[in-house]
Symmetry: C2
Subunit: 418 residues, 2 copies
């Protein structure tokens, strides 16, 4: 075997061990006897192996890995027949849904080249994504609804490192990406489990404060930004650890810095400018400026990638409305790194953000008992897309507004005011 | 990525391309639009990639790979809780069964370390094998019943090469195993597809001759061997290409040298000595000598591994009776190589052999319409095991016997007499 990257690249073996431990003990909080379904790019094999070992040591039932391979994905887009782009492995996803129904936990390692399909025919990638999304939907709903404990962690693959650190020699790029992942994932220190306990507590204090205030809206002001975002009726703020319906308290994302909730789809007003580029399906969209009226984006500009932005906004009616509002302090470790990861797991934790498209049903009080109509009635948005988009920086102030218009400082200069 | 073994080890890239082509065009005869389910050890990634490319070029629907990893398997046996050894991924196998029902083709790349679990607790491997076999049975029945086109090919992984060529440097071992696989798989020459057409024709001539003779029994004589094996009522000889129920004519094994049929479970009489060691679950069994009475092994000895042999024979009643009889000329390429591969895909093609245990229902005239009782009534054996065991050599003569006892030479000195 020649896939043991740590031998070849400067990836700290102790920190990789700790990341595997955090993935199993904090991300999943895997229960003794619980099966684990694990997905990873083959290039992330060193972490997948350590996670399997940590899972078995924690008393896992059976660990079942499914690996993806970038070269095989590319072969499909290079040589596949036209009909192949409407195919999806429904039989596999149906099985995955059954595994979740039988209480298997779910772990995803990310590390794919974010530009892998940048040169593929956009019509083919869009058809393939659509076919896959439809086939995966029943299983994804169990994830999105927190039926079981699940988590996402990252491994510094070479193909990803080359995008984040272009121009660097391979070993330098992988080493730098590894350091950035370990630091953001809070496994630099010896006692990472305690570090995560403290971090979850800090995030819980913010969500408790916000949930007690029950703001009617948030107001953002800063360079190019004067925006009021209404919050959904009965919205609930979440962040850090979450409770799954199977009774396990888990951390869905490693790393995570955000607290987030569901905005009201009909109540956004004003202008907002993006503070970071948005990497979407291999395209970089920069300098986004949009204007909202009654919750809908009625004007949209970008200095780069404007056509991709417009196509995205035209996906469906919900694509022009907000589905998530998230607060991240400007001093967060990922923001401080100054890096663009081209991966939402990291980039959404670098700044306060909003997402256009689908909302989270879990971000309502009693959300697990609400049907789609009840969620819509409370202002929850629905769409085929969910795209996070950074609007925070060190020069953004955010106020909480009550129904009467009274203001409470939430963030000042990008930092928590509470 | 660092898994591209061809860059590191002396594996002929042209021959690897040809093996992928033969796997898709001869092994599977993949139909345009047909999905492909592919399994492989991660160490076989270079061949898996070439097969995916060849499949898409041949018009495949979707290629879905599932990779196994030796280190993750070992982690289970080292660290898994006691309860984990009774678990199996039933949700996955159920999905695989659905893929076959929807006409997906199936390709397996073998290349695992044959001694991977040699040091694991035999009680755990046996429980894990049993749980897996039970969960996989519905999908396996579609394979064994030739519902769809499927094939098995081999890749020279390092862990396997080290077992076949112990003491050689890694690159030499892999290079030698690669050469042996390519040669046995008949991809040495430029036109491998034609070579396989000729080979399938030669095998078909033997099965046609044997099927026309409808022998009542075969008689084997040679050093330590004086054995009569009755053939099942309505038996059919097979070899080389086979017809699947989905209408595709495919080659289930790459390589293959055997023609084979179902013996009568109640009609074996006499003594037989093994001509090669038998590699079974990490143990080598050598110098086997057994005596049959009325189809049943009533005496069994071995100069090495006798206890494993006895335990195996005690699996169930059918484990002491024959389920396959196969003829392979002593001059076959795999026999000529003189190598022990520790993998049935190769070793069973090095010599005429028998298997104790389960018979093939496809080896009856009209076998796809016969139920278990009808197969048993015709002499077909049933067991949880099927273990091939070499009894051919250059000094074995085989005669066909008709019901009245008249003899027809079938093999002389290990070579076809017809
Ligand atoms: Zn977010
Ligand atoms: Zn989001
Ligand atoms: Zn055989
Ligand atoms: Zn056999």
């Amino acid at each position: 075997m020649t896939t043991d990257l740590p031998e070849r690249f400067p990836i700290d073996a102790d920190k990789l061990d700790r990341l595997a431990e955090i993935a199993v003990k904090v991300g999943l909080r895997l229960e003794p006897g619980q099966d684990l379904f694990l997905t990873a790019p083959i290039a992330a094999l060193p972490l997948a192996r350590k996670i399997a070992e940590a899972a078995y040591k924690a008393g896992a039932g059976l660990v079942t890995p499914i690996f993806s391979d970038e070269a095989m994905t590319l072969a499909r887009f290079r040589y596949g027949s036209d009909a192949s782009f409407d195919r999806a492995p429904g039989w596999l996803y149906e099985g995955v849904g059954k595994a979740f129904a039988a209480n298997a936990a779910r772990l995803a390692i990310v590390g794919e080249d974010p530009m892998l399909l940048a040169e593929a025919d956009p019509a083919k990638t869009s058809r393939a994504n659509r076919a896959n999304a439809i086939a995966y939907k029943p299983a994804l709903e169990k994830i999105a609804g927190f039926d079981i404990n699940w988590t996402i962690v990252a491994f510094p693959t070479l193909s990803w490192a080359r995008r984040v650190f272009p121009g660097e020699p391979d070993d330098v790029a992988v080493g730098k990406l590894a350091d950035a992942i370990f630091s953001a994932s809070r496994v630099d220190g010896d006692d990472a489990v305690s570090a995560w306990r403290a971090h979850n507590l800090a995030l819980a204090q913010k969500t408790q404060w916000l949930n007690a205030r029950r703001f009617h809206a948030l107001h953002y002001s800063g360079p190019g930004t004067d925006l009021t975002i209404g919050l959904a009726d009965g919205h609930a703020w979440h962040g850090g650890a979450a409770a799954a319906k199977n009774g396990v308290t888990f951390n869905p994302n490693i790393p995570t810095e955000e607290v987030f909730t569901t905005p009201h789809a009909l109540r956004a007003e004003g202008r907002v400018a993006s503070t970071k580029p948005l990497s979407h399906q291999g395209t970089l969209i920069e300098g986004i400026e949009v204007r909202f009226e009654a919750g809908r984006i009625v004007e949209a500009r970008a200095t780069r990638g404007a056509d991709v932005l417009r196509t995205t906004l035209d996906t469906d009616e919900g694509a022009r409305r907000l589905g998530e509002v998230a607060l991240v302090p400007h001093s967060s470790p990922i923001s401080s790194s100054g890096l663009m990861f081209y991966n939402t797991l990291f980039d959404e934790n670098a700044a306060s953000h909003v997402a256009i498209g689908q909302c989270y049903s879990t971000c309502f009080v009693g959300g697990d008992r609400l049907g789609p109509d009840e969620i819509a009635a409370r202002g929850g948005n629905a769409s085929l897309i969910h795209i996070d988009w950074m609007i925070g920086s060190g020069s953004i102030d955010i106020d909480g507004l009550d129904a009467g218009g009274a203001r409470t400082p939430v963030m000042r200069g990008g930092e928590w005011a509470v």
